[in-house]
Amino acid sequence: MAAVGERAVSYDARGLAEPNAVAPETAVVDGQTAELDAADLSIRQINLELRRLVYGLGVTDVVVRNPGSKHSLGVGILTRCRIRFEGSLGYFACGLLDGPEVHITGRVGWAACENMMSGVVVIEGNAGSQTGAALRGGDLVVKGRAGARSGIDQKGGTIITMGSVGAMTGFMMQRGRQVICGDAGPGLGDSMYDGTIYVAGKVKALGIDCVPGEWTDADTEFIERKFRIYDLGSPPSFDKFVCGKKLYNYDSLEPAERKLVL
């Protein structure tokens, strides 16, 4: 006899919340383009439908209407395609991407594009905290403002924020680049191992071991190229910040870590 509060747990080795969900097959497909109305679909149904379209049917352009700020949409898409979300997304949007080019017309919650490997994500509105957490590669463009700890543990890629960013942006950054066109909150680049942070506005306070860097022609080329690609207008004047390397230096840590294990 089950005790009070005890209940059977549906076990799934992959940790899926809806292990038996299937793609609803409600998208309207026209050749290599498709439109999906997400209004009445669950998160997993939407993601399954996206996979069916881009993997199964070879669709290369998808428009998702009425995303309704649902969480974890568009995650784990591992192929080249274009996805346009017409509206806002909740937390952990478009994480673990490897290849897609995504356009979000609204806002996003926290941890958008976490662990993105490659691809392009453009967010028209604001983004929550931990935007681009552990980003590995690709470009993330936030046309509004971003919250605290943007690019925390960033390991590569580029995060461009047209507005201001919150506290501890670039915390423990290990590689990659952040371009901040507005102001930066306190603790910018705290405990960063490597990487580059460009700030056009005011910095409330630098974090530990984050120091001004020397501007080079490569910095100019990089900034101008990204502004041109994403049609962001004329770039403002930036200050550059890098790791002072007084703390631990990342320097090829990932390969070295594996050697320690062997």
Binding site: E6, R7, A8, V9, Y11, A13, R14, R51, Y55, G56, G58, G76, L78, T79, R80, D98, G99, P100, E101, M117, S118, G119, V120, R136, G137, G138, D139, G156, G157, T158, R175, G176, R225, I229, S252, E254, P255, R258, K259, L262
Partner: protein, 187 residues
């Protein structure tokens, strides 16, 4: 069984074969051949030096080199912009020429290993060549971690990744391995 099936079905064999030896020679493409089969099943005399110690390069995983590691002309035509999302080289911006065991190498994050480059690299083109060798390696389907997908992928995904168009989908019918005698907990 095709040579590459042998690798996929028993990827650890090459690391534990007591007769393992090896000599790094460039062989075959993604399909493999009899010579390839011989190399991965442990008949090369010097392979022990790859499989012991702390080496984490592609040759240790595969037991062989690939032709594009030894011939610049095989990677010259790789289009980096076309191979990556967006209007520039995207994630390859973070890929630089490194060194492994004193040899120029590029790091393959999809296999967590180095891919050594054995031909002379023209001055001023170090990072470009490193990126081209890596993309050639990925597009050829020779990244060891990618080759594990067919057997171990838990979710539907393109087998060869975003750098190859129309790659077949794997991982659609994943079934977790069952440990004999183990019962799932009641709660």
């Amino acid at each position: 069984m095709a040579p590459d099936e042998h690798i996929l079905n028993d990827p650890d064999q090459m690391h534990h074969d007591p007769h393992a030896g090896g000599h790094a020679t460039a062989e075959g493409g993604p399909g493999g051949d009899e010579q390839h089969a011989q190399s991965v099943t442990g008949h090369h005399p010097e392979r022990a030096q790859w499989t012991m110690g702390t080496s984490i390069d592609s040759e240790a995983l595969w037991g062989r080199r690939f032709p594009y590691q030894e011939d610049l002309s095989l990677v010259e035509d790789v289009d980096l912009v076309a191979a990556t999302p967006g209007a520039d080289i995207n994630w390859l911006e973070d890929v630089d020429l490194l060194q492994e065991e004193g040899i120029p190498a590029v790091f393959d994050r999809y296999s967590n290993c180095f891919l050594k480059i054995h031909f002379p690299i023209p001055a001023g083109r170090e990072n470009e060549i490193a990126r081209k060798v890596l993309i050639k390696h990925l597009q050829s389907g020779n990244s060891y971690g990618i080759r594990m997908k067919e057997k171990h992928a838990k979710f539907a995904q393109p087998e060869l990744g975003p750098w190859v168009a129309n790659s077949r989908t794997v991982g659609e019918n994943y079934t977790p391995p069952v440990l004999e005698g183990w019962e799932p907990p009641v709660h």
